[in-house]
Structures are given as structure tokens and as C-alpha cells.
């Protein structure tokens, strides 16, 4: 009977007597050996808890809640369902009950999801009230819970209840620091509470306060000042902070004060001048590393104008970096150097060896920091040395760090449209080199940069195609899945800029080598398309050559070029001979190979036989691809085969005497057509281009587009990822306009250019410029794998420091679309900061009144409705305060200010003088209303004028 009763939903005495304690549950959990057993034990415990927690007996309830708290905080079970039960225990008179309830609530309640806490408002208020019956053992957890979980409303309601604790002066009040922290959180969630809470917080800083309260208050101000988007409201407190900086013997307090000052010093140069001496003193003498480090950070963030301080801090950093036994100091030293930035790269240069040694540290975090530091200090004069060093170093380091190095080299060099790079030939070949790192896994970014440089930097194209050829020709790279993106870029480059290639036929062979079937289809498609372009180019060149020969216009220059290229290609041949090993299985390829190189050695670039071998090769290899499952590959393969057919179909192909056939109109037409198809140069696209296209009238973008299906259906447009650089005549907008676009892409493009000239690059501009640039030279980049780190350390002495000498080579034109690159993130953070704006606005109100300042600040705060309301609240609330505390003359001042606020600004100098008067009168504590009235009166008379808000804020004795 009892058993059935116990298992039913309502708990009984039996339950109470045989309840398992928290210790029992913990033991059961610990004795369960496997995860499954543990899960079962937890499930059982949860079952019990669900039953027990509804018990009317509070002791049972408390134990259940404790068990639940344990499971929730250490095994991450949701306990929001039990929130109400926790609140039920708060009113209990037995001390352990509410304490357990507070613990459970503070661990599980969540400001956004806890909607039950307002139910406990009254209870919280009771526990916070200062009465002898109330023990701090309850007030402390109540404050704690408020700090963690209060909603804006609750904070507003309970803020007045914090006041008695906050403003009590007795040093035995152990709750005061806690109340300070709670007030800080209340201010953060509810800026409206500022008028009530801020003044007591400021008072905590005063001399008479308990050191614990001071420490807590400094922590709170530090938090507020760091979080505020504009810390200027805290400037009036600078004298207090300064006093603490000089007097405090507590390192924890000093660190916080330094943090505040590093924020304030950027606003007010006089503050910086004032704190330099104490900071240097601390730097020199403090034994505490944490404090020294904070001083260094303060100097680096806000005292950079003071050379002596910077030198001192850099010396300290050297000590940090030299501490071999403490990795923490080395890490922090590097991090601090990072703050200095490129303007002070001499500091990095001073510690160059240590920094480079740190690349070899056992700790990845230190290595990463050193890498970051080196990258920050890159400039156009040292980029070559350092990047070469890093890429060499990456070969020897572990895979993860190697990729981090590669990543940061790519990111830094590519930053802001390659602003660091002067020598693009070098950079392109560096890209080619880093790809060969065995751990290389940054294919996407490398692909993007290879293509991007091709588009933007005309002068880099010859080197680019050289690099692309080397990548394509190497059969070993094809098996690496990380490289397929890079190979895709290389293939695209080889097709697009084939005119810079010394031997297009060799490229075709590389693109069609057997191992390409290892590539994923989307890369294969790019390969086939590249073959298409190269074939078209070769054929056109061949025909042009014949035409030129026919008109007897072959100049000597051409012959000479041919010779030069022939000799270069000897080297190319020997390298590709090495590749023959894999080509042997492929009969056609080897047979063609011989003929191709034959033709090269005869110094004819395009011979009839070589073209026909090319056609054979393409037919043999691409033929099977026309049956490919992948649409992309299949479609492009068919394109290529179609072109081959067209070429073969010309009569000229069957007859040997060439001069007869060039008169064939058909050939001329084909050549014209193909030239037209590929003549338009691709350029980079501004990221804003789409935005600037205005929506035409009558076009509703959200309209269902299914009606268009039958119009577009015939064209068979398939959306494909590589539209931009593969099928340029299939641009969607063009197909809409004219179905004949495939035939005459050139005219359409030029029409498009005419119509939307804004989005095209100027045509003649870069052509004329690029002619002025010297030809790119061969870079020499010997890669020696055997070097030790010692060798790396033995870098040229100038490597990290920027040399100011003019580079010998002028930088090539890099096409850059001004508005597209990098101005997007202007107002990202504004929305997030609005709350802090509210808070600092409110604080400004309170503080300025507090410090007896004229109300010039009010004009700077936005005159919106909320701030108006806030100000009204402020008046009422601080009147209330002034009634509570008769020690100050706050109230009458209030009205003066609020009325003068309406009377608009006043002349600045007069304010300052009158303010000084006021200051004096305040300091002598003779608060004369007569003087005040005069002040107000004068304000009314003066003409409105804009006022710099910071200027009058700082009290003079600080300066």
C-alpha cells in the first residue's frame, strides 16, 4: 500500500523519510561505471526529484532542489521547469532553505528566459532591507542573484533598495562591495537606473570608504568605461582615479585604474600627460608582473606620444620575451608588441631574433602570436624576404601551423587589393611555391588570388601563366584533393591568358593528361574549357600566320622571337620528357609529342601538322567525355568537339597548299567569330555593381518567374558556378535580351558597355599605362629544404625593419574598384551600442550635475523622447536622493540645470570662468544660490553657440 502511494504523484511521509540525500545521488553517479549506467542513474534521480520537489514539506523540497542544482550545473540538465519551486523556498524562515534556493536560482536563472523572478520582487526586497533580523547570509545571495539574473524592470524596481547598502559608510558593512557589483549589472541592463545608482557608486570612491568598497567601485567603473562607446562622461571622475593611481597599494585596484585611464587618455591629452610619470614609476618599480604588464598595455594603447615611456615599456617587453622559463610572459610580450603596430616597428626589430625564434616555440599559441606579430609588421620593403622565409619555414613545421602560415601570408599579401606587393612576378611564383608544401590545404584562397591577380594585374600575366603551366604539367599534384581548386585556377589562367604562353600545345597536353580523371567534375569542366580556348587561340594564330606569310609581311622580329622561344622551350621539353613516363601508356599522346616538339624545334609555332596532331589529341581524349555523366563536363566537351569538327570541316584542312585556302570565306568567318568570342578581356567586378543597377520601372522582382520558363527554355541555360569566367557569352542579362547573343557576343558586350559604362573599367586607360611598365623578370627562388631554424634566424638584418629606400621596380597597375573593396563595415556596431549610449547619456546627466558643471553636455545628447523622459526621471529621482541625504545641496542645483538646459548653450569662455568660480565656491562648500542664479541669468543672455563637450569637464587641479 505504502509503495503504491509513494509511486503516485503526491509525495508522502515515506518519501520524506527515505529520501536520498545529495550525497547518495553523487555516490550513485560515481559508482556507475559506464556512461549508460550513469545515464540511468541520472534518469532515476531526476524522476525522484520531480516527485519530491512538489512535496509540501520544505526539507524534502530543499534536498530535491539541491540534487537538481547539482545535476543541472554539472551535467547540464535544464532546470528551468523548477524555477518556481526555487522561488517557493525563498520566504522560508529556516536559513538553509532560502540559501539553497538562491544558489539554485543564481546558477540556473537566465536574464532572457527567466520570467518568474518578478514574482520574488517582494521577497528580494525583504532580504535586502537593512534590519537586525536580516542576516547578511541572505542579503549576499540576494544581491548575487540580482546581479546575474535581473531583467531591466526588476533592476528598476529594486534599485532604490540597493541604496541603503550602497551608501552605508561603516567599514564593517561587508555587503557594500557586493551591492556595488550588483549596481553595475543593474546599470548595464537598465540605464534608467543611473540617476539613482550612479551617485552612491561615485561616493564609494571617496577617501573615507572602506578599501573593499573602493576596489569594487573601481571594478565597476572600469567595466562601465570599457564598455561605453564614448567614455567621456567618466572624465569628470579623473581626479578620483588619479588619486587612486598614486595612492593605492592594491595591485588589483591599480590595474583597473590603469584600464580606465587608457580609455580616458585618448579623449583628453592632458590626462595622458598627467599619468605618464606614475605609470613609468610603476613600470620601473613594481614587482608584480600583472601590474607591469598592464602598465605596458596602457603605454602602448594611449601613451604612444611619450617616447620615454614607450622605450621603458619596450625594455620591459624585452625582459618578458627573454624569460625562458615562463611561456606566459613570452606570449604576453609578443601580444603587447602586436599592439604597437607598424608605426613602431623598431621595437619589433630590436627583438627580431627572439620573435623569429618564437616561431619555433613548443607552444602553438606563442608561435601563432609571433606569426601575427611578423605579419602586422610587414611592409612593401620587407614582404619579399619575410614571406620567402615563412614559406620555407612552413615546409618544415607541423601541418596545422604550416597552414596557418600559408593562410596569414595569403591574407596579408592579399589585403586591400595586394597593397603590399610591388613585385607581382615574385608573388605569383611564391603562390606556386606554397602550393607545393606537403601540408597545403588553403586551395580556395589561393584559387581566388590566382584568378584575381590575372584579372587585375596585366603585367603579372606572363609569370602567372608560367606558374600555371608548372602546376598543370606536374602529374603528382593531380591526386591531391586540396589542390584541385588551385589547379582549376591554373587551368583557367592557362586558357584565358594563353597568348602569353610560350607553348600552348604543351599546355593542352598537360590539360589532357590521363591523370586528370582524378579531378572532380567541376574542375574537369574548367580544364575542358581551357582546352577550348587554347585550341581556338592556336587555330587563329595559325591562320593569321598563314595570312601574314601570304602577304609577305613576316618581319624579322617575328623570326627572332621564334628563335628565342625555341631555345627556351628546349628546357621545357626536357622537363616534359620526364613526364613521359606516365604518358607512355597513352599511345596517341606520345606519338603527338614527338611531332609537336618537332615543330617547335623547327622554330615554327603553329604548323599544319602540329595543329592536326592537336586536333587528334583532343578528339581522342575529349571524345569520351562527351558521354560524361556530369553535365558541365559533357557540355563543354561537346563544345570542344564541335569546334574540332568545324575546323576539320573547312575544305582547307584537306588540301596541302595553304595559300589557296585562306581565301576561303568560311575560314575567315570562323576566325572572326572565334576572335570575337574571346577578345573581350575579363575584368574584376566591383562588389557594389549589383547594388547600383537601378530596378527598371514596372519590374517587380518578387513576381513569380515561372511565366518566363517557355521563353528561356529554348536557350537551355543551366546555372553554373563558373559562369563568370567560363561562359561569358551566357551572361543571364544578355540572354534575356537577345537569343542571338551567342553568335555576336562582342557587339552585345560593347552595347552593354555603352549602356552601363559605369560598371566597366575604362578601356584605354590601363592599356596606355601598362605599356610604361618594364617587363617582368624571372624570379629566382631556390628552395633549400635542409635549412635549420638557425639559418632562418640568420636572416638578413634588415628583414623585419621597413627600409625606406625606393624600390627599384615600379609597381604594376593593379586594377582596383574604389568603392567595392572594404568600406562595407562602416556602421556595423551602431545598433549594438545604442544601449550603452543610453547608459552613458544617463551617466553624463548624473555626473555633470554631480560635479557642478554647466549643462553644456546636454546639447550633445540626442534630443529624442527617451532621453527627455530619462532626464525628467533624473530630476525626480535625485530630488528624492537629496531629501534622503541632506549633506549636499543637490536639489536646488538640479532645477537650475534643467531650466538652463532649455535655455540653450552659452558662450564657452564665460562658462569656463563661471565654472571656475563655481568650483571654488563648491570647494569652500559655500553653495550660494545667489551666485548660481547669476550664472543662470548669464546663460540666458548669451547667444547659442556650439560647445566642445570635453573641455570644461576636467577639474583644474588634475592639470
Amino acid at each position: 500500500m505504502a509503495a503504491t502511494f509513494a509511486s503516485s504523484s503526491s509525495p508522502s511521509l515515506i518519501d520524506t523519510l527515505f529520501q536520498r540525500s545529495l550525497d547518495d545521488v553523487i555516490r550513485a553517479l560515481r559508482s556507475s561505471s559506464s556512461a549508460a549506467l550513469e545515464a540511468a542513474a541520472i534518469a532515476r534521480a531526476l524522476d525522484e526529484i520531480r516527485r519530491e520537489i512538489r512535496s509540501p514539506d520544505l526539507d524534502t523540497k530543499v534536498v530535491a532542489l539541491q540534487k537538481l542544482t547539482y545535476l543541472a550545473s554539472l551535467h547540464h540538465f535544464d532546470m528551468s521547469w523548477a524555477a518556481f519551486h526555487a522561488l517557493e523556498l525563498l520566504p522560508s524562515t529556516s536559513l538553509p532553505h532560502p540559501r539553497a534556493a538562491y544558489l539554485a536560482a543564481s546558477l540556473s536563472f537566465h536574464p532572457s528566459s527567466t520570467d518568474l523572478l518578478p514574482l520574488a520582487t517582494h521577497q528580494l526586497r525583504k532580504h535586502l532591507a537593512p534590519s537586525p533580523s536580516n542576516s547578511p547570509a541572505l542579503a549576499a545571495p540576494a544581491l548575487h542573484l540580482l546581479a546575474l539574473a535581473s531583467s531591466p524592470n526588476l533592476a528598476r524596481h529594486l534599485a532604490p533598495d540597493l541604496l541603503p547598502i550602497l551608501s552605508s559608510q561603516s567599514s564593517s558593512n561587508l555587503l557594500r562591495p557586493k551591492a556595488v557589483a550588483t549596481a553595475l549589472r543593474a546599470l548595464a541592463v537598465c540605464p534608467d537606473a543611473a540617476p539613482i545608482l550612479f551617485k552612491p557608486l561615485v561616493e564609494c570612491l571617496s577617501l573615507s570608504s572602506d578599501p573593499r568598497a573602493v576596489s569594487a567601485a573601481i571594478g565597476a567603473f572600469c567595466e562601465l568605461a570599457l564598455a561605453a562607446p564614448d567614455p567621456s562622461p567618466y572624465l569628470p571622475l579623473a581626479p578620483e582615479f588619479y588619486r587612486l593611481l598614486v595612492d593605492s597599494r592594491n595591485n588589483w585596484v591599480t590595474i583597473k585604474v590603469l584600464k580606465i585611464f587608457s580609455r580616458l587618455a585618448s579623449l583628453e591629452p592632458r590626462v595622458a600627460a598627467r599619468i605618464v610619470d606614475p605609470v613609468c614609476e610603476l613600470l620601473r618599480c613594481s614587482p608584480a608582473k600583472s601590474l607591469v604588464f598592464e602598465c605596458i598595455r596602457t603605454v602602448f594603447s594611449s601613451l604612444l606620444d611619450h617616447d620615454a615611456a614607450v622605450r621603458l615599456a619596450v625594455d620591459k617587453i624585452k625582459e618578458f620575451l627573454a624569460s625562458d622559463d615562463d611561456p606566459n610572459l613570452r606570449y604576453l610580450g609578443l601580444q603587447a608588441l602586436n599592439m604597437l603596430g607598424p608605426a613602431h616597428s623598431w621595437a619589433v626589430e630590436d627583438s627580431r631574433e627572439v620573435v623569429i625564434q618564437a616561431l619555433n616555440d613548443t607552444d602553438t599559441n606563442i608561435r601563432r602570436e609571433a606569426l601575427r606579430l611578423i605579419m602586422v609588421n610587414l611592409c612593401d620593403s620587407n614582404v619579399v624576404d619575410i614571406c620567402n622565409m615563412l614559406i620555407k619555414y612552413a615546409i618544415k613545421s607541423d601541418p596545422e601551423f604550416a597552414n596557418e602560415i600559408i593562410d596569414s601570408v595569403l591574407a596579408t599579401c592579399g589585403r586591400n587589393v595586394y597593397e603590399l606587393i610591388v613585385d607581382f612576378d615574385w608573388y605569383v611564383s611564391l603562390l606556386g611555391e606554397m602550393v607545393r608544401n606537403p601540408h597545403f590545404a588553403k586551395g580556395d584562397e589561393t584559387e581566388r588570388q590566382l584568378v584575381d591577380i590575372g584579372l587585375r594585374v596585366r603585367d603579372a600575366r606572363p609569370e602567372l601563366i608560367h606558374v600555371a603551366r608548372n602546376l598543370l604539367i606536374d602529374p603528382a599534384l593531380l591526386g591531391n584533393p586540396f589542390l584541385c581548386r588551385v589547379l582549376s585556377a591554373a587551368a583557367w589562367v592557362s586558357g584565358e591568358y594563353v597568348e602569353f604562353s610560350r607553348n600552348p600545345l604543351e599546355l593542352v597536353e598537360a590539360l589532357l593528361q590521363p591523370r586528370t580523371n582524378l579531378l572532380p567534375p567541376f574542375v574537369r569542366a574548367v580544364y575542358v574549357q581551357a582546352v577550348f580556348k587554347i585550341l581556338a587561340y592556336s587555330f587563329i594564330s595559325f591562320i593569321e600566320q598563314i595570312q601574314a606569310g601570304e602577304s609577305l609581311a613576316i618581319g624579322n622580329s617575328l623570326n627572332q622571337r621564334g628563335k628565342q622561344e625555341g631555345s627556351d622551350l628546349l628546357a621545357a621539353k626536357s622537363s616534359s620528357d620526364q613526364n613521359n613516363a606516365f604518358e607512355i601508356g597513352h599511345g596517341v599522346a606520345t606519338a603527338d609529342n614527338a611531332i609537336l616538339f618537332d615543330s617547335i624545334e623547327k622554330q615554327e609555332i603553329f604548323k599544319h601538322e602540329s595543329i592536326s596532331c592537336l586536333l587528334n589529341l583532343i578528339e581522342t581524349v575529349v571524345g569520351p567525355l562527351s558521354e560524361c555523366d556530369e553535365v558541365e563536363v559533357q557540355e563543354r566537351a561537346r563544345n570542344v568537339l564541335g569546334l574540332v569538327l568545324i575546323i576539320r570541316g573547312t575544305q582547307f584542312w584537306n588540301i596541302e597548299e595553304e595559300h589557296e585556302l585562306t581565301r576561303d570565306n568560311k575560314i575567315t568567318k570562323i576566325v572572326e567569330l572565334m576572335e570575337a568570342a574571346f577578345s573581350e578581356e575579363l575584368g574584376p567586378v566591383s562588389t557594389n555593381a549589383q547594388k547600383r543597377v537601378s530596378v527598371p520601372e514596372g519590374l517587380i522582382l518578387n513576381e513569380n518567374l515561372s511565366d518566363l520558363l517557355d521563353i528561356l527554355g529554348d536557350d537551355g541555360i543551366s546555372p553554373c558556378a563558373s559562369v563568370s569566367f567560363s561562359f561569358r557569352n551566357h551572361h543571364p542579362t544578355e540572354t534575356n535580351k537577345d537569343s542571338a547573343s551567342a553568335i555576336e557576343p562582342n557587339s552585345l558586350l560593347s552595347e552593354h558597355r555603352k549602356r552601363h559604362g559605369l560598371y566597366y573599367l575604362p578601356m584605354d586607360n590601363d592599356k596606355s599605362e601598362s605599356n610604361d611598365y618594364p617587363c617582368a623578370s624571372e624570379p629566382l627562388l631556390p628552395v633549400s629544404h635542409g635549412e635549420d631554424t638557425e639559418d632562418i634566424v640568420k636572416l638578413p638584418a634588415q628583414s623585419l625593419i621597413p627600409e625606406k629606400e625606393k624600390p627599384t621596380r615600379t609597381r604594376p597597375v593593379v586594377i582596383r574598384l574604389d568603392e567595392g573593396d572594404g568600406v562595407l563595415s562602416a556602421n556595423l556596431a551602431t545598433a549594438r551600442e545604442s544601449k550603452h549610449d543610453l547608459l552613458s547619456g544617463a551617466i553624463r546627466d548624473v555626473l555633470l550635475r554631480n560635479e557642478k558643471k554647466p549643462s553644456s553636455m546636454h546639447e550633445t545628447s540626442p534630443p529624442d523622447r527617451t532621453s527627455q523622459r530619462r532626464e525628467n526621471d533624473a530630476c525626480e529621482n535625485s530630488e528624492l536622493i537629496s531629501q534622503q541625504k541632506e549633506s549636499n545641496s543637490f536639489g536646488d542645483r538640479e532645477h537650475g540645470n534643467s531650466s538652463s538646459r532649455k535655455s540653450r548653450p552659452h558662450h564657452k569662455e564665460r562658462i569656463e570662468s563661471s565654472e571656475q568660480n563655481e568650483e571654488k565656491s563648491h570647494r569652500h562648500s559655500g553653495k550660494s544660490s545667489r551666485h548660481h542664479r547669476r550664472h543662470k541669468h548669464r546663460q540666458r543672455e548669451d547667444a547659442p553657440l556650439d560647445i566642445v563637450p570635453q573641455a570644461p569637464v576636467i577639474q583644474d587641479f588634475l592639470l
Binding site: Q66, S94, L103, L107, S113, A137, A220, N251, W252, L332
Partner: protein, 161 residues
């Protein structure tokens, strides 16, 4: 400010969690999973700082326990290391050479001690003596209340209720 405090054992078991910034239950388990993977994997004699999602996590190992605190990027790491040490010393003083088991079976006590040291992610009490005094006072209050509750008359009153 300190965003959260974690105590993780070498085996990856969580011994104490305290969240000063709002994290949902789901995020909490995710954070713990990520961080224990990150921190437990680090060998000895490495630096005590880990960068994580734009924050910094300062950790330190005492015996089999890792004490981790997550702070903002502009906070002082060395200061946090001192706070961790401070906390451990106070625990040690309270439990008398503290070990993992003490924290397992007295987990609420560990929370009370932590609450005396940190509130709302800020250091509250830098004196070990004061913390010890406060905790002792609370303990004696709670003990007195418990004694009263478990007195015989009280038991009888409960049973006959």
C-alpha cells in the same frame, strides 16, 4: 570582466561551472565541450592562455583539476591567473588541503566560496582571511538553523503534522 568559471577534471568531467554572462543551457554544454577539448589537449609547460571565439581563456592546472576563467580580450591575463590562485588558496584553507573529492561532495560550499570572491564577474574580496571569516560565519548560522530544525520536538511536530 570574467564571463564564466569552469573547473574541469583531467578526464573531462565538469566539477564546477559559474556563468556571469548569459548563456543558455545548450550553449553552456557546447562551450564546455569546446573548451575541454582545447585545454585538456595542451601539454605542460605551455602558456596558460587560450584564445577562443574572440575571448581569452586563462586556465591553470592544480593537481587533477583545471581551473578556467574566460575573460574579454582587453582584460589582464596575469591578473586572472592571480585570481585563480587566490581562489585555490582559499579553497585549500577552507577544506584543509583541498582535493577533487572535496569539491564533488561539497559543491555548494565551493559555490559559496566563489561567490564571496567574485560577483558579477568582478573580484570582490582580495583578502583570504575575510573570505574565510565570512564563510565560517555563514556555516555557523546554517548549522544553528539545521540543529534547530532537527531537534526532537521539531521532528515530532513534523511527523504529527
Amino acid at each position: 570582466m570574467i564571463n564564466f568559471v569552469l573547473l574541469i577534471s583531467r578526464q573531462g568531467k565538469v566539477r564546477l561551472t559559474k556563468w556571469y554572462s548569459p548563456y543558455s543551457q545548450k550553449e553552456r554544454s557546447k562551450v564546455i565541450r569546446e573548451l575541454s577539448g582545447l585545454i585538456l589537449a595542451r601539454g605542460p609547460k605551455l602558456c596558460n592562455f587560450v584564445e577562443w571565439r574572440g575571448y581569452k581563456v586563462v586556465y591553470r592546472r592544480y593537481a587533477s583539476l583545471y581551473f578556467c576563467m574566460c575573460i574579454n580580450a582587453d582584460d589582464n591575463e596575469l591578473e586572472i591567473l592571480e585570481i585563480i590562485h587566490h581562489f585555490v588558496e582559499i579553497l585549500d584553507r577552507y577544506f584543509g588541503s583541498v582535493c577533487e573529492l572535496d569539491l564533488i561532495f561539497n559543491f555548494h560550499k565551493a559555490y559559496y566560496i566563489l561567490d564571496e570572491i567574485l560577483i558579477a564577474g568582478e573580484l570582490q574580496e582580495s583578502s583570504k582571511k575575510t573570505v574565510a571569516r565570512l564563510i565560517a560565519a555563514q556555516d555557523s548560522l546554517v548549522e544553528a538553523a539545521k540543529e534547530q530544525a532537527s531537534s526532537v520536538s521539531n521532528m515530532i511536530a513534523q511527523v504529527t503534522k
